[in-house]
Symmetry: C2
Subunit: 348 residues, 2 copies
DNA sequence: AACCTCATCGGAAACGTTTACGGGTCGAAA
DNA sequence: TTTCGACCCGTAAACGTTTCCGATGAGGTT
């Protein structure tokens, strides 16, 4: 291990000067160029790499941010994580990734570990979360900049980045209605999810604006479950129920892409072709949607951008505490986008 | 910030004793129980949390392992990552996740950052890698325990965990043949991938054993590309080519699940129903396969187990260097498993 | 001649742990 | 009485940085 003292010895200067030069500290204005040269030469020649432990101990900075995911296997996570990673990379922070498995104990344990590591920021990917608000008490009092993706918080110490579910719901409904569908079935999200209500509100608003009357008997609801994949099974089963009901519908608006996939399978198995006999629209635009047969029409959440945005908020927060400014929590609500592919078709 | 000295003061003992007690160091045998009690009380009362920086500086341990992924968006990664995360959690290491984006520069930069953090182990997820062997020179001389998933290495300083591609290829071929298919089309992997050759060898071995003669005009090959998703487009395009060729086939053996999805889309668009008119089999069993319509028959890589296995190897390596033993690299080849779902059907 | 400013550097004190070493006490064996 | 373990605990030196103070000259100003 080559230390700064080795470089000092090799270059003939003190470790103070070496440190100042190698870090381009403010004082390095006063160091003549040829001294700098010598020091840099020596450092390079010895292959000096500063010890991050010592550096962190001294500076109280870890250059790491924690990323907590509630369930990695949710395909929703992938692109968000990519966005997070990519943006952190630009700011040369490193992400410590933890997967809570939707378990309270794991959440607490991981949070402790992350705080012990003195992470400078925290990003929580609360995609499929049955929100337990007091889980976040520890986070709040830790006073490190935190952003939550996919779940709005009342507290104003924690930032959040979410998609505008209401306009998303509106977009989906509007799309189906504009295609001429007048018998639309719905698969609502589970009650516990924060996304469920605003999406439904958007749908209802659109229905009102179109003077379309929603048939209550064509509304199904996904039961609560900790597993995001369960949405697929629920979508399939509920669609089977709808079919069995013999109440005709020409389109189906699913809560998310997973349940849309389930619906498509159920329809296909029943001999109902998508989109020829029935249109299906999802929500999220997970990677699979573009690959599905038929390719899924859906409302896209700009997931990569949301990840990037969360990092932006957190990094801004970090800079704020460094400069002893304080910024309040910022809450961003990003616009979804309708992506028309093959699973919906005009009735006209 | 409450330090160990605060605890010492509060409990009336020296920081030495506090450290020994709180860490259950060997010497703590000599400390009488009631001293321990007092110290633990004080620590708890003050909410003492040891500073990991200082601890790491002293002990030269980071309790972190680096995870390098070549492309996170590859659905293959998800479950492997879950396996890695879960197993690391058991051993209370934390993962630092980096995504190389298949770029050389990024790889090198990230590797430097990880080494600077003194990671104790490294796991490389080389799923879709056009192997550049000398990228790993730095890794080798760093002498930290390293495991590579999805790519066998010649070097014996780096461990590896891979699926047995040859028996996988054999299984897929055997499945189709046993269903009675005698006109089978193939989509081979790109030349640059290490998986391609052994899988194809397995297929050919099986063909030989069954006395089935492979029709060269029914063999297509995926072109090289850095993007794992490109496999889908390639699968679709190549299948279109096959169809246009007018050379009949009743089954298609795809390189991986992505290309199988592409194939299914091409077939479906051409009015060829899967599996009624043509069976399709994939490889990997990514999460989407079970959700696809039709659900995809495929050869499963036990991805979660492979992630866990890689962690096992690395942790074992870490323990080895701690105890100054040295263990050579271990190379594990895990068995794949045929998963029969809906996309293949018997001709008999 | 006394005083200040700039430029250039080094000494030494932190940051919070862990641990090698040694100093006690106390009972028992020689 | 001395010696010798076995216990119990504290002093101080690391680990490798960064940074607060100066120190020293050189040159310019009062």
């Amino acid at each position: 291990m080559v230390t700064i003292r080795d470089v000092a010895k090799a270059s003939g200067f003190s470790s103070t000067t070496v440190s100042i030069v190698l870090n381009n500290a403010p004082l390095s204005r006063y160091i003549p160029p040829d001294t700098k040269k010598k020091i840099e030469r020596a450092a390079k020649r010895l292959g000096y790499r500063p010890n991050q432990f010592a550096r962190s101990l001294r500076s109280r900075r870890s250059h790491a941010v924690g990323v907590m995911v509630f369930d990695m296997t949710d395909p929703y996570c992938t692109l968000v994580l990519r966005g997070i990673e990519n943006t952190l990379y630009q700011s040369s922070y490193l992400p410590i990734l933890t997967d809570v498995h939707n378990e309270r104990a794991r959440f607490e344990r991981y949070l402790e570990m992350l705080l012990d590591r003195r992470i400078e920021g925290l990003i929580v990917l609360a995609n499929w979360l049955f929100l337990d608000i007091n889980l976040l008490a520890d986070v709040e009092k830790s006073s490190i900049p935190t952003a939550m993706i996919g779940c709005e918080l009342k507290t104003d110490s924690i930032s959040s980045v979410i998609v505008d579910n209401e306009v998303g719901g509106y977009l989906a409904m509007e799309h189906l209605h504009s295609l001429g569908h007048r018998k639309i079935a719905f698969i609502r999200g589970p009650k516990g999810l924060t996304d469920t209500t605003p999406r439904w509100r958007g749908i209802r608003n659109c229905a009102r604006d179109c003077q379309y009357e929603i048939d209550n008997r064509l509304i199904m609801e996904i039961p609560e479950s900790r597993d995001p994949m369960s949405s697929f099974d629920a979508g399939q089963k509920l669609t089977e129920d709808l079919i069995r009901q013999k109440r005709p519908f020409t389109a189906l608006l699913a809560f998310d892409d997973m349940s849309a996939f389930g619906a498509i399978r159920a329809l296909t198995r029943a001999g109902i072709r998508v989109p020829e006999h029935c249109s299906v629209i999802g929500f999220d635009d997970v990677a699979t949607s573009a690959l599905y047969t038929p390719a899924l029409t859906t409302v896209r959440q700009p997931m990569e951008a949301m990840g990037a945005s969360a990092v932006g908020v957190v990094v801004e927060g970090i800079n704020a505490v460094l400069e002893k400014r304080d910024v309040g929590a910022t809450h961003r609500k990003v616009a979804p986008e309708l992506v028309v592919r093959e699973s919906t078709r005009s009735l006209l």
